[in-house]
Amino acid sequence: MVNIRRFHHLARLLLVFLCMNVVWYIAYLLMNHPILPSPLAVYNAMAHLEAKDLWLNISYSLFRIFAGVIIALIVGLLIGLLMGRSQVWNKLLDPVVYLTYPVPKIALLPVVMLFFGLGEVSKILMIMLILLFQVIISVRDGVKAIPDSTYDVLTSIGASTAQKFWNVMLPGALSVILSTIRISLGTAISVLFFTEIYGTEHGMGFFIMDAWLRLDYPEMYAGIMLFSLVGFVLFLLVDVLDYKFMKWRN
């Protein structure tokens, strides 16, 4: 049963992908201009990319995303838990979060670059900034939504704060954390692209811009498609985590 459903799902995805390529091909025929190469030319360019070079670019991008996500999760989890469990901290930090949350983080790119230079730090920091506030808010609300009575039995047998964190707070807030990551991952990838335009010679953003500057359009499109593929795989990863840790909901 499950296999059949999975097969149908996969078949549907492939069909949609195929249709998009057909639309693309028709657009290519209509435009007949080098700024939109045919899908075949792009796949051909993709096949001729140097694998080692490509891997290096993808690894750099993935490293920046993972570092940013993990730092945002750790910091956001700590602050969110503090706000979710303590009235005092919530009152103190709530205005801070609400005042800074609407600031468009991408506009901070020049500021971050002024302070931290053009290197890795500012790239990772940008991704972290995008995710941080959403993680804080979702963890806080997630922890608040756990009824107090959930802690009772563990408290009565003398559980430590750490034990309550691992067994109640973290699993209780995990579902909101996962959906937050899923939503903000898209934004994080876009921001990564912007940061990779400056001060680096590695990464998918650099690869695309480099191809653009060399007027090598098929390679540029190939880069965009590969970049999207990386994003798609990250989405799948969150889905796998969701499936693994959220079994209890059904």
């Binding site: 563990l154 009565s156 047998i157 699993p171 840790f245």
Partner: protein, 243 residues
Amino acid sequence: MEYKGGQLALGHVELTLPEHGIYTIIGPSGSGKSTLLRAIAGLLPSYTGELLFNGKSVHAKETLIGLVPQNYGLLPWKTVQANIGIAMKISHPEGLHKQEQEVQIKHWLTSMGIAELAGRYPLSLSGGQQQRVAIARAFAILPTILLLDEPFSALDAITRETLQELFLDNWLANPATTLFVTHDVEEAILLGQKVIIMPSNKEEMPEIVDNHSVFQMKHEHKRDSDEFFEQTKAIRKVMQEKW
């Protein structure tokens, strides 16, 4: 023992109960029976008075409390087995071997008649099944004091009767000192060696009715016996005076 939460939730209460007994507490809503249980379980931030077990505070390390709340208190993200496992691990940090623990868990689930549910998640279980898990968990940590806060009141009549008998069988095999809060007179008489009747007036002392004559009977004979009938009448009379 006194507890103040703006209003007096539980007035002055003095109770001294022998160890290894099972005591049912019955009282009108708002009489503070749950508050008493929460205080013993260490869930109240502050109260004045003393709660002693064997001359030592009930919150001392060597007193282990098995709590069965009305809402079962299971962690929804853990399987039945993991729910019991984590309680065992926290209450006995020196710990058992993993295999030994699994054998223990299996034993307690079997004695509650739910061995086949070990791998299930609580949200996929019925109320009665969840309460069986909660009771199995309370017994599994080998508590010195067992506290049950209206454990069966959310269940239908037939499930309730089955669970009452199952609980009593398990208790007779592992007689920890037990406080059982209920609002059901029959349940109080069926399960308790003594029945503690909480007054609605917080100034008065609770009344303790000895229930030995019913308690020593076989469970299936209790309901139809004259003693049960007499006891019901006696307790109802106290209730009419006190409530």
